[in-house]
């Protein structure tokens, strides 16, 4: 009760303070200053999902501060806000799935991946993403998805590309799968309500849907490549040229964080409560990805050629060596 009253008081004080200076400070908001006491402030644009747990864990363990990096996470809704933020220098680093990075590169966006982010855990049926159907659905395997309506979070991206590969491997015709776009969090309800026949979901939506009886019929990441590199941290080529030392330090700190998270999965699971609202049985049950320190180039080759096959890069080809190594 006291905290509630205190909170209300603090809020009112903030409002009063802002109202007081409202007329004078028109136009300019408070911009983050860089560098206090020797540490460089580094902003990282991330999506608040399971995949970035090592970053938060590394921050808590001091892997960044001991290298003089004052880490500040900026949580955005999806890559649409992260890539422009990194390119314009609002964030120094960003987190994005590799297909989006390849897409950006083929469109001439000056970015470069600097350290691995997250990979498939390779477990078919218990991977970090999966295609789920209703309990009583007639769909039993990826092959049955042919002619059905499948939800993915973004069209022409890593989701539909890898789902098509699962269908292909199961012996179906991937061009006959109908994809619709929908945010992950709405998928359990859409599946339950019958708006879609199947949904390609990431955690925690996948675990939530399973809790309501959904069945997983395909694990597109693991089926594409058990070591599939899914997402990485990237920066702008401008920062890479201007502050190579900072990039090196970030890469080193992130590598240490990835190692630590791989060795301490329980701590990684627990840190989720600090930046998401995942709780209860979902928190205990959700599948963790794997966090290797190295990017798996072979898997990226495969993903890129799948993307080309689907025509998502237009008539261009991503230059994987320039982007990832």
């Amino acid at each position: 009760m006291q905290r509630r009253v205190f909170g209300l008081a603090v809020t009112l004080a903030t409002v009063a303070a802002t109202a007081g200076c409202g007329s004078s400070s028109s136009g300019t908001g408070g911009s983050a200053s860089s560098g206090s006491g020797g540490a460089t402030q580094v902003k990282v644009g991330v999506i608040p999902i399971v995949d970035v747990a090592p970053l938060y864990l590394g921050q808590r363990k001091g892997f960044f501060s001991k290298r003089g990096i004052d880490l500040k996470m900026v949580t955005a809704q999806g890559g649409a806000a992260i890539v422009p933020g990194v390119v314009s220098g609002q964030f120094q680093f960003g987190f994005s799935n590799v297909t989006s990075l390849m897409l950006a590169q083929t469109k001439g966006v000056p970015i470069k991946s600097v350290v691995n982010g997250v990979a498939s855990n390779g477990k078919v049926g218990a991977d970090v993403t999966g295609v789920a159907v209703k309990k009583n659905s007639s769909i039993k395997s990826a092959k049955d998805l042919v002619g059905k309506k499948v939800a993915v979070n973004t069209l022409q991206n890593i989701g539909d590309t890898t789902v098509r590969e699962s269908v292909r491997k199961a012996g179906g015709d991937p061009s006959k799968v109908k994809f619709v776009e929908m945010p992950f969090d709405q998928m359990p309800a859409a599946l339950d309500g019958g708006q879609v026949d199947a949904a390609w979901m990431a955690e925690p939506a996948l675990t939530i849907a399973r809790g309501q009886g959904a069945r997983v019929v395909a694990s597109p990441f693991a089926e594409t490549d058990p070591k599939l590199t899914v997402a990485t941290y990237f920066t702008s080529t401008k920062l890479l040229k201007q502050k190579p030392d900072l990039v090196k330090k970030f890469t080193a700190a992130m590598t240490e964080s990835l190692e630590y998270a791989s060795q301490h999965p329980d701590e990684a699971r627990q840190i989720l409560t600090s930046y998401t609202k995942i709780s209860g049985t979902v928190l205990q049950k959700l599948s963790l990805p794997s966090w290797p320190t190295d990017i798996d180039m072979a898997s990226l080759q495969k993903l890129a050629s799948l993307g080309e096959e689907d025509g998502i890069f237009g008539d261009k080809k991503p230059d994987l060596n320039a982007l990832f190594s």
């Binding site: 209300l8 903030t14 007329s23 908001g29 949580t75 806000a81 309800a189 930046y275």
Partner: protein, 284 residues
């Protein structure tokens, strides 16, 4: 420029203990039942929310009963993060509204008092005004990332037009006889703005501010939700991606309550600033 500041600062104390006595008692009689009816509507909504999930029409997983939303809300109230988010939202709203009102007033009065300027800008204003603020999100992110300034860009853009258009309408409404009289009495440019244009435009300005206050709140929360700038909207987004359905509804309830509060506040300010105006006196 002083007119906007005197406007926003003096409105409160100006109306402070005034209002014709007769009007006030009648007002109180009518007011007794209006809030009651409002509360009845709210209670009905709560009952529907409580019953609906149990009826099987919608799954409780996606629309939790009102009691569960209330419990989630109660837990939220104990979190420091919630109050910080509320503070961020109110900051974005307050600052954005203040800037929009000030800019709208200055621009409106300047454009409204120079006929040439008005003729030149009319089509431009009509062109810019319907552009939805959310369409500016990529620009905002490119310029300012995900901090307060991005929110302000959207909020100011959306609410500025509300004020400007009303101020322009207000300045057009000046009685030509009053204007001529003022000229005959050799009132200067400033005097005519202060004693002729301002009292005429004030009711319009107040309408503009009231509309802008609501629009500013909607845009603040939208910006937080879509861009990810800190605030209640961002908390909603996090709760959504985490599948924490009761928290999502609890936060949505908070934004709804905030909207009601903002509207009531704006009405109160309007009433006080226009206590002398026939529309308010009749209303009482």
């Amino acid at each position: 420029m002083t007119p906007p500041e005197t406007a926003s600062v003096t409105t409160k104390p100006a109306g402070a203990g005034t209002g014709p006595g007769g009007a006030r008692t009648r007002h109180n009689l009518g007011a007794a039942s209006a809030p009651l009816r409002g509360l009845a509507g709210l209670a009905g909504l709560v009952v529907v929310l409580q019953v609906l999930p149990h009826s099987g029409l919608v799954s409780g997983d996606y629309l939790p009963p009102a009691s569960e939303m209330a419990r989630a809300l109660w837990h939220l109230l104990a979190e420091g993060a919630f109050w910080a988010a509320l503070g961020d939202t109110l900051t974005g709203w307050g600052l954005g509204l203040a800037i929009a009102v000030a800019a709208g007033l200055v621009a409106g009065i300047v454009i409204g008092s120079v006929p040439v300027l008005r003729a030149v800008t009319a089509s431009t204003i009509e062109f810019l005004r319907p552009i939805p603020s959310v369409a500016l999100i990529p620009v905002a992110v490119l310029l300012y990332g995900t901090d307060l300034r991005s929110v302000l860009l959207l909020v100011v853009y959306a609410s500025f037009w509300q004020v400007l258009v009303q101020v322009l309408a207000g300045t057009q409404d000046v009685d030509p006889v009053a204007e001529d009289t003022a000229r005959s009495y050799r009132l200067g440019g400033w005097g005519r703005v202060r004693y002729v244009m301002w009292p005429t435009a004030l009711p319009y300005v107040m309408t503009g501010v009231r509309l802008a206050a609501t629009v500013a709140l909607v845009l603040t929360i939208t910006a937080e939700l879509v861009i990810g700038a800190p605030g209640l909207g961002h908390e909603i987004a996090i709760a959504q991606t985490s599948g924490a359905v009761p928290q999502v509804y609890a936060l949505v309830l908070v934004t709804g309550l905030l909207g009601v509060t903002v509207n009531l506040m704006a009405r109160a300010v309007e009433r006080r600033a226009l206590h002398w105006h026939p529309s308010v006196r009749r209303e009482g």
